[in-house]
């Protein structure tokens, strides 16, 4: 039986501000950020000059939203390619940076190189600490971080955030799942930190090892980041019931170097945005006009006060829906993203007139407890675009049950999405497994 998570505020002075005071604080920090970027970052000074914009002209948030150009990932890539290795966005000398990170590179593009100053790093750890505390992590928690600790920023910030709260942290970078499971039991781990894909993988391995993590472990919180799985109801259900624990979704990006929004202990499906550290907008991806509360749009984000690599109005391509702060009963002034990241505009594909995202496929496939792992592609077959899904049956099931599951999956896709996929049962252990940044969806059509 899941216990209720503790409720509290990391920084009540700011988290309980009236909304109008928060806006004033954001404007003050934004104006500082723009002035700092103008003075120290050639990338932004040139961008502002090209648009005939000077820092003193930004006097209101509305004025900023209307006038300041959006920076895209392609702009960052081009800048680093044209000015190797770090580009012109860097606002401090490289030798005074404390950390070097890269994006994961899973989009197929070369990874963006990112620096953090000592102050940025403390800022990032503090953003994680604040989010973890708001989710219910406390000093007496024992935390396992299942992450490779490489140059991808991943859970580095989480590690420092947990330490900042005062938790006992177990960094298990070099271990495999079969070693981590007994460690969870032996050391009384209460909080597991990993990707949603890895949490599911751990449940599968535990089952093979004859361990029931829901019954035998003390894990009552799972902190996930790096993929949108925690926002997909069927995936959430698999993880929460498998561990009998609360699942917290934490969203951030390497480019912003911090924790932007996270699950509140009072509203499992809502992620409070750290609005004192990030100025966020939700805009129509084509017109770039704000879409307002309750509508899907692209997240645009400005980290407030970042020293090594300022980032201003960064168009993330992430699909989000904004809800007002009072949707949640916790009292925090910060608005929320409903259900976290709902997908990416650059992952969206059209198959026979139906707009499809990887999350839509995952939502249905994870709803079938008989499915162990799956992989989907969009291909041209006999002149027609087709969605092809391969899946592995759970190891304890007879292969003959596969046919019936195939029919059920087809039926559900037809009903929920209006598209009938081709489904194949794959041999056991033939599909890729992921511990970080899973990619279970590929569009293999030839671009026209």
């Amino acid at each position: 039986m899941k216990v209720e998570l503790p409720h509290g505020y990391w920084n009540p002075r700011i988290e309980l501000l009236p909304r109008s005071d928060l806006k004033e604080l954001q404007l003050k920090r934004l104006r500082h950020t723009i002035r700092y970027a103008w003075e120290n970052s050639p990338f932004y000074r040139n961008l502002m000059k090209r648009h005939g914009l000077f820092p003193k002209e930004i006097r209101t948030l509305d004025n900023f939203f209307k006038r300041f150009p959006i920076t895209r990932r392609d702009d960052l890539d081009k800048d680093q390619l044209d000015n190797p290795p770090y580009g012109t966005r860097l606002a401090i000398p490289p030798e005074s940076a404390l950390r070097y990170h890269t994006t994961s590179g899973t989009t197929g593009k070369p990874p963006v190189k990112a620096f953090d100053s000592e102050r940025d790093w403390i800022w990032g750890g503090d953003a994680w600490a604040s989010s973890l505390y708001n989710f219910g992590v406390r000093t007496d928690d024992v935390v396992m971080i299942a992450f490779g600790y490489g140059s991808f920023i991943g859970f580095w910030g989480a590690h420092y955030g947990f330490e900042k709260i005062g938790c006992r942290v177990l960094p298990t970078g070099g271990m495999d799942t079969k070693k981590r499971i007994p460690m969870i039991l032996e050391l009384g781990v209460t909080t597991l930190c990993c990707t949603p894909s890895y949490a599911i993988r751990m449940l599968h391995v535990a089952k093979e090892e004859g361990v029931n993590l829901a019954r035998e472990s003390k894990v009552d919180k799972i902190v996930v980041a790096g993929e949108p799985g925690a926002s997909i109801p069927s995936t959430r259900n698999v993880i929460e019931s498998g561990f009998d624990a609360h699942l917290g979704d934490f969203m951030g990006t390497t480019e912003t170097a911090g924790m932007m929004a996270s699950t509140c202990s009072k509203l499992p499906g809502g992620l409070h945005i750290n609005e004192d550290r990030y100025l966020t907008e939700v805009v129509d991806p084509d017109t770039l006009k704000p879409v307002g509360y309750g509508n899907r749009g692209m997240m645009v984000v400005t980290p407030l006060v970042k020293e090594a690599m300022p980032l201003i109005r960064y168009g993330t391509n992430d699909i989000v829906i904004l809800d007002p702060n009072d949707t949640c009963s916790c009292g925090r002034v910060f608005d929320l993203f409903r259900g976290g990241i709902l997908g990416r505009y650059d992952d969206m594909v059209k198959v026979r007139g139906v707009q499809l995202t990887p999350q839509m496929v995952e939502e249905i496939m994870r709803g079938f407890s008989e499915v162990d792992e799956f992989f989907s592609t969009v291909e041209e077959r006999d002149g027609l675009d087709s969605l092809i899904i391969k899946f592995e049956l759970r190891k304890d099931l007879e292969p003959s049950t596969g046919e019936d599951i195939v029919l059920q999956i087809k039926d559900q896709f037809k009903t929920e999405i209006g598209l009938t996929p081709e489904i194949e049962v794959a041999p056991r252990d033939s599909l890729p497994r992921f511990e970080l940044k899973s990619r279970r969806f590929k569009d293999l059509r030839t671009p026209h």
Binding site: H7, G8, Y9, N11, P12, R13, I14, L16, L25, K28, R29, H32, E118, R119, I122, W123, D126, D276, V305, S329, C330, G331
Partner: protein, 59 residues
């Protein structure tokens, strides 16, 4: 705010002044020629800066 959650979330003017004075002291020793003092004071100064920034006492 939810009832019964926070007992004392306010800082007095005097507390704020003490925190800012502590920052100034750490800043001074961040430039010390003694490595152990310089590095630890610099780190402590940056950690304190974060708290002061979060509390809107510094920028």
């Amino acid at each position: 705010m939810m009832k019964g959650e926070m007992k004392n979330d306010r800082l007095s003017k005097k507390d704020e002044e003490k925190l800012l004075a502590a920052y100034k002291i750490l800043e001074e020793f961040s430039n010390s020629e003694i490595p152990v003092l310089r590095s630890n004071c610099r780190k402590a100064k940056n950690e304190l800066w974060q708290a002061l920034f979060d509390l809107d006492l510094m920028l």
